[in-house]
């Protein structure tokens, strides 16, 4: 027998849970800390998600770390499923769509399409059954917001999906989760079971006659499966190759039926918009970008981890207030947003407001929310090469512009990083990037040139240094640098020699150590391990005499 049959019963249950909890707290006399005893199951919970700093507001993450993700009672105690119950008992699907449209919620998965409009389109499409899919294939390297929500507050996503399903007229939903997130899959499956047992999912949700059930499907390590048509192909059990749109999934989606695909975070916003109202949500953010956005702040800031900030906040506020500045008091060089299809913004644009339009205008994108802060020791050409390598590997190969374009760009970038760049490479890159952008089939190829374009725009002189002077200003590109031990500073502690993976450092205890430039592969371990700052990286002219005699082994 399901446990809950109506909104009243749900509210009643919530009261009871809260009372029990209060009784529990006073019984153990844990002063007001009752909620904090629940740590999320992920081992890195506390380091990933701290108390809010700076301008942070917790909407999507409000329950993470506070409730036990494996307990439905905990979620119900936080008004959980009341939005669904309210919707089912007193709203028509049109009214739901109206509220979501009015709130200004836009997709958090990257394409930033207005969610209300997407739901309306799917609702209006002829054909049944309809499906609703939650895109949890968070493939962007450097992003883990969706994982944290799924692991920390899975019911909010399920509730959002159920509301969406009601609005568009679907009765089955899928969560497509990437295989790299086994804990998220486990948590979700458990949450689904619990929700079924309580009558919050199933044939007759909350005794309202509305039927909805969810199934988790796992990906298998293909980035392009985050693209909606590829994702659908993957759920259908095929190779995850995208197909041209239109027809959009809202018209022809899973098994040819109208399908609505939204991101984890988009769904997690929905219950609270219903509960608190569209105006509250629209009150946060800017003119066109409403609400909050979670970011995975990573890289060279003092405080990395998950953050949630109102849209419209400036990058400066994120880096210096929320992130508490750059590590080791170094200089900020660039901020990368939007994952591999995003762009690098230079330190000079640090006052840019973070919203969909501003980022787009600056040559980057919001993406699903990766944000990597880079300090002065980062080589922008190397970063562009890194992202291009990622995209080239993940390109599914279906369309030629993306398959060949990314490969050619990668070839040029690799050459430049090796110090084999020639005059004209930059022009070639620009041409290729334009061709790939305009001719590719899906968002992967269309966005692939972004890292190259944005670094070319803002850090052109670094490309030129690599090509014309064979020098890597950030001293990263292995073929263009050389390590040297400073005789005056080295005290012969032998740490570098012990740590060198190829034994290229010679020297006795308390005597000056020397790096054999012939064998050295410039991995940089020595410079990291030296406690006395006695190792120096040299580039360009400084290395010239040595470069000549040591043709690099790699």
């Amino acid at each position: 027998m399901p446990l809950v049959h109506s909104l009243d019963e749900l509210v009643h249950l919530q009261k009871k849970i809260l009372e029990d909890r209060r009784a529990d707290i006073s019984a153990h006399s844990i002063e007001g800390l009752g909620r904090e005893k629940f740590a999320a199951p992920a081992l890195r919970a506390d380091q990933e998600l701290d108390a809010p700093r700076g301008k942070e507001i917790r909407v999507v993450l409000r329950n993470c770390n506070l409730i036990d993700p494996e307990s439905l009672d905990d979620y119900i105690g936080e008004e959980g499923y009341q939005a669904l119950a309210t919707v089912l008992s007193s709203m028509s699907p049109e009214e739901v769509i109206e509220i979501i449209s009015k709130s200004g919620l836009r997709g958090r998965g990257g394409a930033c399409f207005p969610t209300g409009r997407k739901w309306q389109l799917t609702r209006n499409s002829a054909g049944s059954p309809k499906y609703i899919i939650c895109n949890a294939d968070e493939g962007d390297p450097g992003a883990f917001m969706n994982r944290r929500v799924l692991e920390g507050d899975p019911h909010s996503v399920l509730e959002g999906m159920a509301i969406g399903a009601y609005a568009i007229g679907a009765s089955r939903g899928f969560v497509y989760c990437r295989a790299e997130y086994p804990i998220a899959v486990r948590t979700l499956n458990l949450a689904i079971q619990q929700a079924r047992a309580y009558g919050l999912l199933g044939e007759n949700v909350l005794n309202s006659g509305f039927a909805f059930d969810v199934e988790v499907r796992m990906g298998a390590g293909a980035f392009v499966c985050g693209e909606e048509t590829a994702l659908i192909a993957s759920i259908e059990g095929r190779r995850g190759e995208p197909r041209p749109r239109p027809p959009f999934p809202a018209v022809t989606g899973l098994w040819g039926k109208p399908t609505c695909i939204n991101n984890v975070e988009t769904f997690a916003n929905v219950p609270q918009i219903i509960m608190t109202g569209a105006d509250w949500f629209a009150g946060m953010g800017t003119e066109k970008s409403k609400g909050t956005k979670t970011f995975a702040l990573a890289g060279d800031v003092n405080h990395t981890g998950l953050i949630e900030v109102p849209l419209g906040i400036t990058l400066r506020e994120i880096v210096y207030d929320v992130g508490e500045g750059i590590k080791k008091k170094k200089e900020l060089k660039a901020i990368q947003t939007g994952g591999p299809m995003g762009g690098c913004l230079p330190a000079s644009m640090v006052d840019l407001p973070v919203d969909y339009e501003s980022l787009m205008a600056a040559g980057s994108i919001m993406g699903s929310g990766g944000m990597i802060v880079m300090d002065e020791d980062t080589c922008m050409v190397d970063i562009a090469r890194f992202f291009m390598e990622f995209i080239q590997e993940e390109s599914c190969g279906k369309c030629t512009p993306c398959r060949v374009g990314t490969h050619s760009m990668l070839e040029i970038l690799t050459r430049i990083c090796r110090g084999e760049g020639v005059d004209g490479d930059i022009a070639k890159l620009e041409r290729l990037s334009k061709l790939t952008r305009t001719h590719s089939l899906c968002g992967l190829g269309q966005g692939a040139p972004n890292p190259v374009d944005s670094t070319l725009k803002h850090f052109r002189e670094e490309y030129e240094a690599h090509i014309y002077r064979k020098e890597c200003p950030a001293k990263v590109c292995r073929e263009l640098i050389r390590y040297e031990i400073i005789a005056e500073t080295c005290n012969g502690c032998t740490v570098c020699a012990k740590n060198c993976p190829i034994g290229a450092i010679a020297g006795e205890r308390r005597k000056l150590h020397v790096i054999d430039q012939e064998t050295c592969v410039r991995c940089g371990i020595c410079i990291q391990t030296c406690n006395f700052g006695a190792i120096l990286a040299l580039t360009g002219d400084q290395t010239a005499p040595v470069m000549a005699q040591s043709q690099d082994p790699i």
């Binding site: 081992l43 890195r44 380091q47 990933e48 968070e138 493939g139 962007d140 390297p141 450097g142 992003a143 883990f144 994982r147 295989a179 790299e180 997130y181 086994p182 499907r217 796992m218 990906g219 298998a220 390590g221 293909a222 980035f223 993957s234 759920i235 259908e236 059990g237 095929r238 190779r239 995850g240 190759e241 098994w255 995975a296 702040l297 990573a298 890289g299 060279d300 990395t304 981890g305 998950l306 990368q336 990766g370 990597i372 880079m374 980062t378 970063i383 890194f386 992202f387 990622f390 599914c396 740590n499 993976p501 190829i502 592969v521 991995c523 940089g524 371990i525 990291q528 391990t529």
Partner: protein, 186 residues
């Protein structure tokens, strides 16, 4: 549309000859595969589910397994092979007892994974993608595992280790080898 009993000419091998090959010649393994096939063969789009389960429970999806699945599902082997080769999670060969994955996501790459890989290569004598000759450890590089704030990250099976420095590698590898022995001993 009705599906004919034999939609494609199947020139593949018969059940009988497939059952002679590893791992299908092992009754235990075959029972697992059969069970997986049984519970998902009617699921729409079940192929991905089936392959995912085989990969996680058997550890690989080799050619004989692919042919076997194709036979049971009555689809061409090429369709299955196509799926296997598309997704990086599927492997066609058995891997080591422990899998040592180095995250090559952006944060970790910037955080120094390349140096860690160098160090591990030096210690184990195998480069990424290879398994040590004793079948104990497979070294792999992988995409962002979603723990970037801990960069650089090394994943041993499902356990994550963050902020690993090259100097910590020997101890980590020793631990992994020891856990292999513990597992086989106990």
């Amino acid at each position: 549309m009705t599906i004919p009993a034999q939609p494609y000419p199947l020139t593949g091998r018969s059940f009988k000859s497939l059952e002679k090959e590893y791992p299908l010649n092992d009754p235990l393994q075959k029972a697992i595969i059969d069970q997986i096939l049984q519970s998902h063969c009617d699921t729409p789009g079940g192929l991905m589910v089936i392959l995912n389960e085989i990969q996680s429970r058997i550890g690989f999806v080799s050619q004989p397994i692919q042919e076997y699945v194709a036979r049971v599902l009555n689809t061409p082997v090429s369709a299955i092979h196509g799926v296997i080769t598309f997704y990086s999670f599927f492997t066609t060969e058995p891997r080591g007892e422990r899998i040592l994955k180095f995250c090559m996501g952006t944060a970790c790459y910037v955080g120094g994974t390349p140096q860690l890989v160098d160090k591990a290569t030096q210690l184990l004598g195998v480069s990424p993608g290879q398994t040590t000759p004793d079948g104990k450890i497979t070294v792999e590089v992988c995409r962002c595992v979603g723990a970037c704030s801990q960069a650089p990250v090394v994943v041993v099976d499902e356990q994550m280790y963050g902020r690993i420095r090259p100097s910590k590698m020997p101890a980590l590898i020793r631990d992994v080898l020891k856990s292999c022995e513990d597992a086989s001993g106990g």
